[in-house]
Symmetry: C2
Subunit: 342 residues, 2 copies
Amino acid sequence: MAEKVTSLQVAQRAGVSQSAVSRVFTPGASVSKKTAEKVKLAAAELGYRPNVLARAMVSGKSRIIGLVVAYLENQFYPTAIEKLSNALQDHGYHVLVFLASQTSGNVEDVMDEILDYQVDGIVTASVAMSSDIAQRCQAAGVPMVLFNRSQDIEGITSVTSDNYAGGRKAAEFLLAGGHNRIGYIGGWEGASTQRDREAGFLAALKDAGTALFARETGDFQTEKARAAALRMFDVAPDQRPDAVFLANDHMALAAMDVLRFDLGLSVPGDVSVIGYDDVPPAAWPAYDLTTVRQRANLMVEETVAALMEHIDTPETANPRRVAIDGPLIIRGSARVPEGWTK
Amino acid sequence: MAEKVTSLQVAQRAGVSQSAVSRVFTPGASVSKKTAEKVKLAAAELGYRPNVLARAMVSGKSRIIGLVVAYLENQFYPTAIEKLSNALQDHGYHVLVFLASQTSGNVEDVMDEILDYQVDGIVTASVAMSSDIAQRCQAAGVPMVLFNRSQDIEGITSVTSDNYAGGRKAAEFLLAGGHNRIGYIGGWEGASTQRDREAGFLAALKDAGTALFARETGDFQTEKARAAALRMFDVAPDQRPDAVFLANDHMALAAMDVLRFDLGLSVPGDVSVIGYDDVPPAAWPAYDLTTVRQRANLMVEETVAALMEHIDTPETANPRRVAIDGPLIIRGSARVPEGWTK
DNA sequence: ATGAAAGCGCTAACAA
DNA sequence: TTGTTAGCGCTTTCAT
């Protein structure tokens, strides 16, 4: 079996020094055309490829980005991971995945593990971040960007959609549709997405002089969202909201099922439903969910750009909080006000 | 800012040799209780953590598993990745993700990149594998297991569901339901899952003396599956199949939408539909899809077990082809034959 | 049980 | 442009 081929072996075969080989495989190095060719030939014959780990040790750059994810149930994340991983591959980086679930300890432990791998940067997708952890990364000189979460921590870059504005859009649409018994089913209360979406939603309601009619929490989970929907809608008709905004599509889809199949209500005839994310199933005809789109492509682009900037030019890179505006995608699950078009 | 702490610094602070520190952080090494305590204290004070990359260089074990994925559209994969990553974390490994998409070159290039990272093992999820590549990995001494794909290559371990048996189950259920104009919409023809599912399906049909009524290809993609469904069902009623089996749920969901919303047909009144995978949306009331379940948990367990075996005891580990039987989950999208129960 | 010393495969000064 | 030399931070003999 073909054993590990080192740069030294290539050097010997090509009749050059080991460092010459190293130079040939280092983008910006100075080598003559002739040497380069000799080396490349020898390398090809031997099947040589540089050892990334050895390179990482001496150069201090592993070309690995640590990605911390909490859960993948919400389909927004798989999509985002795919795009993120792709974008980073184009920059010569690869993604090392860390799941911050119960079985593997808490976020703090995970961050330690990440740092052990000498990653060049960290992306946390929807994970609560203590300022303590953030500081440790900063101390270690490892840039971090929060994806789909913002945090009130000085000097930490985050990329989100404009959740506040998105919440407003949902409310304005419902208001324009003539609804006046409007409910809200929130996500996990610790999430900035939940807070900001609700804040925008409530602000727009308030601006219109309307009070929230009902509120429940679904914790971003299917079963809890179903339970929340039942609590809110399995009541006397005159106690029932005529519209509901849910903090994400995942919950909105579950709520639509409860409304239509458990309670026999019509959507949007009896109740208008709006979600947030615009995950693929939201567009499926069986749901046709009106929702605020998160522009995953843009969010990923900004994330990668920020990360590269922090890695390449740490001195000049300044932390920022990017909030990307997303459109309300008008479909059939909420009554369409006069003058608005799909 | 806290600079990088090395084992040497810890050693000096603890008043021991650098190798003593190494031993304390190496599970099976011999250190006295006293030294261990001194070292641990010093390490804690300094915030020392071993550098995984340096360890990998000398030990030859990176504790990194390369994962090659083609696409994450099919929701079976995100789920599987999450479980896989979790299981590997419990064994002290982490997953480095490689996407084998167009933008990043073909599978071959990706495999080279993976090997550059000195991974201890490779899992390929639904990726076509040439015997050439497989051999290169074997030559490099890196164990590989194929997840959800089998391949006719000598000596390569794969873990799949029992797709042939699953295909049979779908056919038998449809047959028992009294259907006699049965159609099949296949996935990407290069996939072993597609081939095996169809082979089992056709075999059961043949056993019953029934011929396939119609066949189309959906390539495992939403849009192509929609188009295939339209070709198959947008015809004169007497030319229309009364049942259809699709090679995965992703396509089955799309087909149900076409049937009900584009063509105004009733499911299962006019047409029975069966899918394969049992992804979460299959259970949603709006679809309530009858489907063959892939037991992701078991598949992941087997994958991890095989991988660990190949890594820990390469001599005694023998390649195997694991096919895990999965039940037919009877829901509402296909007529339930007398005597069968949900 | 512990320390000294020799690398793992590579990059990055530094000379030449 | 090239070769020589010195490490990167760690594990692992080998003595002691």
